[in-house]
């Protein structure tokens, strides 16, 4: 979850939905700048966003996956073939070569805001 408070950054954010529209350990898909983005909410109260596109199955489905933990890592399992993706980084936990783009996301006044794609770190 991004903690940026820089007003210049905030303007680049899109309001996508109310927080209560996302179930705990559930996900929703949103259109952000014409792109399908999956937004998840975990049990510990965090919100994460990554591309909805599952590179393994080549389908736009990640928001519909099951959210859980692997060790300490919060992850979503692709609903297609169950590959696991780290919600924080988009890293595929079953294949080091695969990573899904993540997005800045924040919650304000009970609303969920999604920013631009994060730069690879």
């Amino acid at each position: 979850m991004s903690t940026s408070t820089d007003p210049a950054v905030l303007t680049a954010y899109t309001v996508v939905c109310r927080l209560d529209q996302i179930e705990v350990e559930g996900g929703v898909a949103a259109l952000v700048g014409g792109v399908a983005v999956a937004i998840f909410r975990t049990h510990d109260g965090n919100v994460y966003a990554m591309s909805n596109y599952d590179p393994c199955s080549r389908a736009s489905v990640l928001a519909r996956g099951i959210v859980g933990t692997r060790g300490e890592i919060p992850y979503v399992a692709s609903p297609m073939h169950k590959q696991a993706f780290d919600l924080r980084t988009g890293q595929c936990l079953d294949d080091a070569a695969i990573r899904v783009p993540t997005y800045d996301v924040r919650v304000a006044d009970g609303m969920v805001l999604v920013g631009g794609p994060r730069q690879e770190t």
């Binding site: 939905c17 519909r64 859980g68």
Partner: protein, 852 residues
Amino acid sequence: MSPKHRKTLVVAGHGMVGHRFVQAAIERGLTETHDIVVVGEESRPAYDRVALTSFFEVGADELSFLPSGEYDDPRVRLVLGATVDGFDPETRTVLLSDAQGQESVLTYDELVLATGAAPFVPPVPGHDLDGCFVYRTIDDLEAIRDAAAGATVGAVIGGGLLGLEAANALAQLGLETHVVEMAPRLMAVQVDDAGGATLVRHIEKLGLHVHTGARTEQVLGAERVEGLALADEEPIPAEVVVFSAGIRPRDQLARTAGLDVAERGGVLVDERCRTSDEHVWAIGECAAPGGRMYGLVAPGYAMAEVVVDALLGGPGSFTGADMSTKLKLLGVDVASFGDAFAATDGALELVYADAVTGVYKKLVLSADGRQLLGGILVGDASAYGVLRPMVSSGIALPDNPEELILPVGRGGVELGLPDEAQVCSCNDVTKAQILEAVGEGGTCDSASCVTRCTKAGSTCGSCKPVVKKVVEEFFAAQGRVVDKSLCEHFPLTRQELFDVVAVHGYTRFDDIVEAHGRGRGCDVCKPTVASILASQLNGHVLEGPTRTLQDTNDAYLANIQRNGTYSVVPRIPGGEITPEKLIVIGQVAQDFGLYTKITGGQRIDLFGARMEQLPEIWRRLVDAGFESGHAYGKSLRTVKSCVGSTWCRYGVQDSVQLAIDLELRYRGLRSPHKLKGGVSGCARECAEARGKDFGVIATEKGWNLYVGGNGGATPAHARLLAGDLDRDTLIRYLDRFLMYYIRTADRLQRTAPWIDSLDGGLDRVREIVVDDALGLGSELEAAMAWHVDGYFDEWRETLDDPDKLARFVSFVNAPDTPDPNITFRAEREQAVPGESSGPVALGTTIPVGAPR
């Protein structure tokens, strides 16, 4: 080889050994060069004669080795109900006659005699009266059963191994039973006096009358049997008499053709099982290698392999066989192996006897006490599996060999078998072969898989405990603990989790993982918990917090497809549908541009629905009277049916009605894996019911219930659980079977492997479901009744609930904008998924949030 050079091989007799010969011929490629014609006198294809007595319990189907009546290899022709009347080695022809007495002639290049043996009936006066039987074929047993129906007392002449089996059968049929044996003890061939005496005590305790040292002088009666007259004893009254006074090889064909026969009967063959004519071979009980016939199946199987080998140009030979026997007679274990009578020079005997528990054990040791030569076990034969291989492998005995036969707890040692030790004598499988199957390069991960792949344990079953032990020891040595934990979050099996949830009455995943697990769950345990909660609570799968536990398909009540769209399958119970409903399905498909295909389960699958279209599609279907088909759930799919007696001129029962009733009864039932059923209206089995988890086949008297079938990558034929049931009993057994499966199976374990995994397999299921051995019957039935009463259509409820519907949107901020990543192309005039090469962005001109 061109077809005209193909040779013809004729097999006379389709019994256990004839069948094994053909199997081996197919497996080892003999049919590449030979056409095989098998002629069998019995009306049925080969069956398990060793298990003949269980016919009364399980019926003929279960015993059959070839239920389809034909081999998979088209170059093998099976002619049943036909007899080989003679053959001529000069012209290499055999003379056949079929059931109608029609004669024909076949030419052969090679002839294999596998005609088995016939029971010997001593020529006492009255031996051919009505009510006299032998004990060899299924036909014999059917006749005995019919005769027993109107009788109260039966007698068996002969107290050998087979005679005791027959006595067992008569007792099972409810007759007061006498065993008359001329020798001074029972099972004279296998056990000594002390062992025989122990056996008599066991058998008399069970209410049978044993007469040893008793010679039958006459069968009494005018037309029908009335009793037996014995020398020096009072006559015995009896209405059913079974002769079991030994067997004689059926060597008449060879005698008539002028081939050599052994002095004491049997077609004389050399160590390659070749007769005195070079193109004629003999195997099984009709053959006498080196002048000796073998009345057990294992040597016959070995002979079958030897002849296939010889015909392929191989070096195999038959050099005698292990005559060890182990059986359970009337619940009493009896085993005899190796040199049981201490005939070897200087042999020592070591005896343990406990008159109170009725246990008698004897070991025969070499003069130096270092080697085991043989033994006899009565009352407790659990050591047989370890002892018998010790004889054949000749390994040195431990210092205190008496430990081997002392009861566990008073010593008793674990013995490492050498790799070359033969574990399964029926199928000649060594320990090394079992280790190979489970080791690296092998494909087996369990004892039941080893039995399937190596055949070890598949015949008499007496070696199964040792097979299991060898496999377990191997895994343990490898440090391969078979971890049954569901996943990293729960150190429990599915069954344990099921019980935990039931005992505590949990309704929420959070409570369960907090109390019994760790972390926040995963795509393995969450759907498992969802399924367990669904089975126990009967709630809606999209209700409240269980929603996020559901697997891909359950989460949207539809089946996800490769491009992220869904397929829709309305329920069509039993595959029966009106034209009006068919038209609705067609119109819905047309209006939404869906690809349509008929499924294997007799319904219609509509593909290519976007998630946001699902409610609209289902509104139309529900309004037309359809309901969810649960094609997306680990739950009952369909109960397939043939058209049954309503239309079919062969049908004997209304299979469609029963299929509909069963499908409606079990619809919506969540289970460890998908469940399929089938109902056939007659034995032709057009519904392929035996390929289903539960299959029902009509009989003249009611219904046969089969369980544990499936198609797919590891197909399995369903096996008979109970026969000739009326409708109510059938449903009661099915209720129990399904509920017990739901409670105890592993996650994603279909019924076939589940049954295999139970200790006792199908017999165990029968004990629980039919005999109600655990007393669970009414509880299981009540659980099913609760399911049936609580059923509702998931889709209809979803349509009525705005909360649940809210999730069926493409984008939370653009509910009706189709996902640009989903594309279609046309194939054979229908829409199919387009390929995606990467994420696609929608043009920024599309107004986000605006209606379509």
